[in-house]
Symmetry: C2
Subunit: 147 residues, 2 copies
């Protein structure tokens, strides 16, 4: 549906969306940041059909967001890891508006432990934190799901 | 397709994607940041069917991302404006990987004019820039499209 009009969209947001604009793709990338790397881990986490998952993984590999390692795992490439700020900001916006029980995951300054908000300032030490210095921890909104 | 599995996704990224995870929605929000506010402006910019555009606009109004003003315009709400960091980071990632002719749009520190990259540091004055202090300007990759 988007093919017809996308050539006229001279815009880096439009072009980025061609790669990560599909919701499953964003959730796969999220899972990769959470440490998931195996087909079965993505499938269990997302509960999607194998053929859909395979297609999205292949697309992300083609676009050099993930690499398919020799041991079968799907790992974030450097280009994929560079999506950390996008995911961080998307999560913070979701936390603010769609997490009535508090954030499901905390973003902590690695080695310091302070909360890092959307402005990337550590609430404990006051430093400007780079995306690679953030670690995730369970937050108050993370409930255990019993299938 | 996503309805079945989304309740198990206790995740602010998944929840945010329920609102802005559809590609047209993100491009509508982008257009709103670029100053477009009228139905006809969105339609001309995106080239999508009126019924699709109407449905996406209504959804964004229901979610309080846009407000439908008395004069007919669709304006970003405060919650919508809080998506600026998401759009900024998505644009910077697209600029880096999908803009061979340079960025279509520059993000400049308002009043200073320095470039602001993904780290939100102004390249001219060195200050940490807040999202509301950024203004967009045409960049080298912005070609005029002749329909």
């Amino acid at each position: 549906m988007l093919d017809r009009t996308y050539p006229t969209q001279v815009c880096s947001i439009a072009r980025a969306l061609e790669v990560i604009g599909e919701r499953w793709s964003v959730l796969i990338i999220r899972d990769a940041f959470l440490g998931r790397s195996r087909f079965s881990e993505f499938q269990r986490s997302l509960g999607i059909a194998r053929n859909v998952l395979a297609a999205r993984l292949n697309h992300l590999v083609e676009e050099d967001v993930l690499e398919h390692a020799d041991d079968g795992r799907y790992l974030l490439t450097r280009k994929g890891r560079e999506l950390a700020p996008v995911m961080h900001q998307l999560m913070k916006w979701g936390d603010k508006h769609y997490a009535p029980d508090g954030p499901p995951r905390l973003t902590l300054h690695r080695g310091c432990g302070g909360d890092v908000e959307g402005d990337m300032i550590c609430r404990r030490c006051g430093e400007l934190v780079r995306p690679g210095q953030i670690e995730l921890a369970p937050g108050p909104g993370l409930q255990t799901i019993v299938p």
